[in-house]
Each structure stands twice: as structure tokens, then as C-alpha cells.
């Protein structure tokens, strides 16, 4: 019993020390932000029911969305390559094929009306700065603007695949991949890096990528980081609350609010887990086996000790 008392003392002081240097110290160092479950409470709810057919006319109309965005799902390829796009807009505008499934409807509506506001980057595009957000706001096509926006959102939702048909890589590409590279998945801002047989082809690709990154750096103020190990360096909670509203965790950051819905965020997180922690399932399964073995080992050690000490006490 004396040994158990000693053990209790050792365990107590170990746990106190652990609690102080880990949970407590980190709670003091980092601001804790709770997720709102990707509900975007600051944005107005959609009051009108959208009509996809009318939305299609608006999206496809002259000078409307397809002037800059491609929609592969509707047979609208990109008019310009990513590097040329980045020279014009700072960043390559996303393809709209699956945005209806990945993004929150309220967010899409708010984005169409006032991009800088929905993206929470108004601090970058103040009148004093003389800069304009590269995506112009939609001022209406002559009718009820709320109805028109609801129609456009309905159209985007109608062409998008179901959210569980979208792969984590596709979700990442649409939501994050035009600014962030993930070199452990061979992802660059201008697409997946192929393997090259000829040095020259590789250099051509690298040159394009460098041009794109230069334009992007110019637009964002600095080059957005490679996210390969972010699941280990930031953790899931930080990443998902950061996606939800970057300004909460890094006030003044140039990174826009992403606007994905909860399922879209899950896909993005899954992609980052596959990049930075791909052996997590193996870790769990090997872990369980090792623990079972160690229980047997401890039992055998205990019985051996008991037999030997029977003669000593």
C-alpha cells in the first residue's frame, strides 16, 4: 500500500506539471475561437426562392460571371490560362462548377452583391487605398436584385454535383488551391505539378508558376504559405475556425473568408490531413495492437515477479 501511496504522489505531481505546461499555458498563449458551425450569422438570409433557369441567363449573360469565371460543368472553359488571369486579377478566378455544393448559399449571395464585404477584406480595399476588389459587385439586371441573386445561386446549386461526390482534392482546389500550394501532394497554385522527362519542360512549368506567384504576391501582400504540414502545425480546430473567419484569429490579414459550408470545410480538412498526417488510421490500428500486446506483457511480467518473490517475503 505504501507503494501505491508513492505512486499517487508521483502521478499527482506529473499531472500538475503537465496541466500547467500544456493545457493551461496554451490557453493563455492562444486566443480560443469557437466555431459557429459555418452558419455566417453576419450575412442576411435568402428571402427569395431562386429559379435556376433565370439564374442561368444571368450567370451566362454578357459581362456577367462567365466573363471571368469558367464553368467546366456547363461546358464553359476558361478564357485565359491561370498566369494571364493572375496578371489581370491578381489571382486566378475559380471555376464555378462545384461552388454551389461547397459554399454556403447566403455567402454566395452576399459575395455576388459585394465581394469585399462577404470575404471580409474591406480593410484592403478602402477608398484611400485606391484599390478595388478584382470582382465587381452585382448591381442588378433591372429587376428585383434579391430575386436575381437568388436565381443565380439556384443555378449554381443546380449544376453542382452532390457534395459527397466532390473529392477532398477538388474541394481544396476550388476553396484554397489557387493561392496555397501543398507540395506534399504535388499541388501548385496553377495545378498539379506533372512529372517531367525533359528539364526544359519542367523549367517552362516552373517559370509559369513563378510568374503566377509573383502576381499573387503582389495582390496579397505576401505569398500565401504552403499548407502541406498545416494540419500538424495549426491543428484541425484552428484551421476550420480560420477558414470560417480569418479576421477572428489574425486581425488585418489579407486572407479572405473562405465561405465554405460545413461539408465543404470537412472536405478541405480531410485533404490537409491526407497531406500532413496520412498515416493517422494506421497509427490508431497499430496502437490498439501494441496496447493489447503490452497488457499481455504486463500480466506475464507480474506473474513472473509474483512467483519469484514468493520465496523472498
Amino acid at each position: 500500500m505504501k507503494e501505491l501511496k508513492i505512486l499517487a504522489i508521483v502521478v499527482f505531481f506529473t499531472l500538475v506539471t503537465y496541466w500547467l505546461v500544456e493545457p493551461f499555458a496554451h490557453s493563455q498563449m492562444h486566443k480560443h475561437v469557437e466555431s459557429e458551425g459555418f452558419t455566417y450569422k453576419d450575412l442576411p438570409a435568402l428571402t427569395k426562392k431562386g429559379d435556376a433557369a433565370r439564374g442561368q441567363e444571368l450567370v451566362m449573360g454578357a459581362g456577367a460571371c462567365v466573363g471571368c469565371h469558367s464553368i467546366e460543368a456547363a461546358g464553359m472553359p476558361a478564357a485565359m490560362d491561370p498566369v494571364t488571369n493572375s496578371a489581370s486579377y491578381g489571382v486566378n478566378p475559380p471555376d464555378l462548377s462545384n461552388v454551389g455544393a461547397l459554399y454556403d448559399a447566403k455567402f454566395l449571395a452576399a459575395l455576388i452583391k459585394n465581394p469585399a464585404h462577404a470575404l471580409k477584406v474591406e480593410h484592403k480595399f478602402t477608398p484611400e487605398s485606391g484599390k478595388m476588389h478584382p470582382m465587381p459587385g452585382f448591381y442588378g439586371a433591372g429587376g428585383d436584385i434579391d430575386q436575381e441573386v437568388a436565381d443565380m445561386v439556384a443555378y449554381l446549386q443546380s449544376i453542382a454535383p452532390k457534395v459527397d461526390e466532390i473529392t477532398p482534392a477538388q474541394a481544396f482546389e476550388t476553396a484554397c488551391g489557387r493561392c496555397h500550394a501543398v507540395r506534399y501532394e504535388k499541388w501548385t497554385q496553377i495545378g498539379e505539378k506533372p512529372s517531367f522527362k525533359k528539364k526544359r519542360d519542367e523549367l517552362v512549368f516552373e517559370t509559369k508558376l513563378e510568374d503566377y506567384k509573383a502576381n499573387l504576391t503582389n495582390y496579397m501582400g505576401k505569398l500565401p504559405p504552403d499548407l502541406s504540414m498545416y494540419i500538424r502545425s495549426r491543428g484541425e480546430h484552428y484551421l476550420s475556425t480560420f477558414m470560417e473567419n480569418p479576421q477572428n484569429l489574425l486581425p488585418g490579414t489579407a486572407m479572405p473568408r473562405v465561405g465554405v459550408n460545413a461539408e465543404g470545410a470537412e472536405k478541405v480538412i480531410e485533404y490537409l490531413e491526407d497531406a500532413g498526417d496520412p498515416k493517422r488510421a494506421e497509427r490508431d490500428s497499430v496502437g490498439v495492437k501494441v496496447m493489447i500486446y503490452l497488457l499481455v506483457f504486463a500480466a506475464a511480467a507480474y506473474l513472473w515477479k509474483k512467483e519469484i518473490w514468493k520465496d523472498l517475503h
Binding site: L20, A301, I308
Partner: protein
Amino acid sequence: MAHFTKATSVHDWLDQRLAIDTLRRVLAKEYWIPKNINFLWAMGMVLAFTFGILLVSGIFLLMYYQPNVNLAFDSVNYTIMREVEFGWLWRHVHAVAASVVFLIIYIHMLTGIYYGSYKKGREMIWISGMLLFVAFSAEAFSGYMLPWGQMSYWAGMVITNLFSLGSLEFNGLVEWIRGDYVPGQAFLDRFFMLHVLLIPLAILALIGLHFGALRIPHVNNQDGEEIDFEEEAAKYKAGRKRESKVIAFANDFLSKDMFVVSIFLLFFFYLVFWHYGFAMDPINFDPADGLKTPPHIYPEWYFLWSYEILRPFPKDPGLIAFGFAQVIFFLLPFLDKSPNAVPASRRGIFFWWFWALVIDMIVLTAMGKLPPQGIYSTIGLVAAVAFIGLWIALPFITKMEKKV
């Protein structure tokens, strides 16, 4: 020349040439350990086991690690963590063992202090143990450089800067240690060498010295009782095992050790698979960037108490206090003036001194990690002063102690 006869068995053949029977008798069968001990006496075996785990996992990491500033981070986080089969296991085991080994070292040290196991002929055990502590600290620090993440780089920057020795401004010494103006390729290469060769060799030699130092004074026991080992061993050998105050190292002591080791391994592997964050700091998963200091930098938990002794003071006194903290534990056998080598519970004021030291070091550890502002700075300063005060008071407290 010795006389060799035709061997009757493989065992006999080896015994004639290597005296394996004698070795087994001297090192195991008739190496006597007191019977009156508790599980804390198994910490030596737990440490030996953990060192073995570090060695084996380190060997497998070494086969894929690239000591190059451009490749090191990816060789760890991509090649080892993603490509190599069970590479993640070696890395997690290595990182967690490197952290947990210090927990066991601290328990082992505090056990020695509590039971007075550094006195009456056991001084060299204590001193060789402290040398091992220093060697393990250097091993931990050099290993921390190798993944070449943000914490590696900035810890390397800060710790090497300590060698400018404050106002003495030995900047040439700092640059000599780095082989560069900042931690760079030369720095990574030399710390790689230290981590995988020179310090492990020193640790192996010191483990030999530590074990050797135990041989003559023998292991202490729970009550500080002086045992006539020869007389007790004779009882044991005569078959009066129950009556004897000693047990054999193998298998008596060993069987108990292995049970403690098995419990330790359950705890250890739980951490490896499900609770490794404390040993693998998230910030070190960002690649080293010499133009961006992370918002919070702090050493691993086992260095925090001495780091906090450095931090609350101005530069020069801070360095002196830090130097004091590094050497003072070595002097323990000579600062303790008491004639008693018994557990702290029977030593009056020393008992309170012991627990005050434990609590003070935990407070220093906590404050070392917390941001140095407001109340935390004040508590840190008080705890640092208290640490120094406790050690200055030690000779006086123990001198007053009566013989028990």
C-alpha cells in the same frame, strides 16, 4: 597460458574462453540489491530501457534523415512520416521517448535526493548521474535542431546566443559555435554529428561509469539502513532467502523491474499513439524561416525551470543565475552537511526543504512556458529567487540537523 581442455558443450567452450559463468555470477546472480525497496528503485532500469528505445528508433530515423538545410524538413516530414513504412512510428517513438526520458530522470533524481542516496560513499553515483543529465540535455537539444523547423531554428539561435556571455560580448565564440553568422548548414551538420555520434558515445561511457559507481557502495534502501552485504548474501546463499535483507539482481530484482517497465511501456505507448502533442511541438511543423520569429518561443518542458531562472533577471545577473542553476545540483553531496543518510521524512527541516524545491521547480517550469508578462513575470521572479535561496540555505539547514 591458461589450460584449455576439450569442451563438453558450447557453454563450456565459451566459458573456458570468456568466463561467462563468472560474469553471470558477478553481474547478475550474486550482485546484491537490498530487499527493502519500492518501485522507484526500478527507474534506473526504466531509463536504460528508454535509452535503448531511443537508440533503436534513432538508428531507423538516421537511415532516411538528410542533414541539409534544404532537405532536412522534408526528409523528416515527407520521407519519414509519409513514405517509409513505420517511419511515423520511429519518429513518434523517438520524440516521445526523448521527452519522457526526462520525466523519468527527474523522478530518479528526486528519489535520490529524498532518500539521501548521494551520501556516505555514494557521491560518485550522484555526480556521474548529473553528468548523464547534462549529456542527455545536450543530446535532446542537438536532436531538436535536426527537423529544421521554426522551433529548431529559433531555439538554436537563442541558445547559441547565450554563449556570448552577456556583457562580455563573446560574439566570436557564438559564430564559432555556429560556423556561420546565423544557424545554417555548418551548424546543422555539426549538431547532427554531435547528436548521432559524439554525445551518444559520451552517454554510453557515462552509463558505464554510473553503473560502476554503484558497485562498491551498493544500492541504497528505503530506510537508509546500513546493510552488511556479505553477511546477508551468505544467508541468501544458504537458502535463508526470507530472512536475508538482500536479493539477487537476476532474477529477483529483474523480475520486479520488468513489471515496472511493463507498466511504464503501457503509459509510454499510449502517449506515442494518441497523446504525442506535448513532445512534438506544433510550431516545429513550420519550416525554419530566418526572417520570422514565431510569436511564442519556449524550450521543451524539461528545460523550462532553468530557462525561467534566466528570464526574469536583467541580462548579466540572469546568466549568472542560469549558470548557478546548471551547476548547483552537482554540489548537492557537499552542500548537505547532515550526518544522516536517511529518508527526508526523518530529517526534520530537510523534509520541508525537499518539497519546497519540488514545488518551486514546478512553478518555475510553468512560468517558463507562460508569456513573460503581468503576474506571471512576478511569480517567475519570486520562484527564481526562491530557488537560489533554497540552495544557499541548504548547508545551514542540514548543519543544524541532529544525528538520528
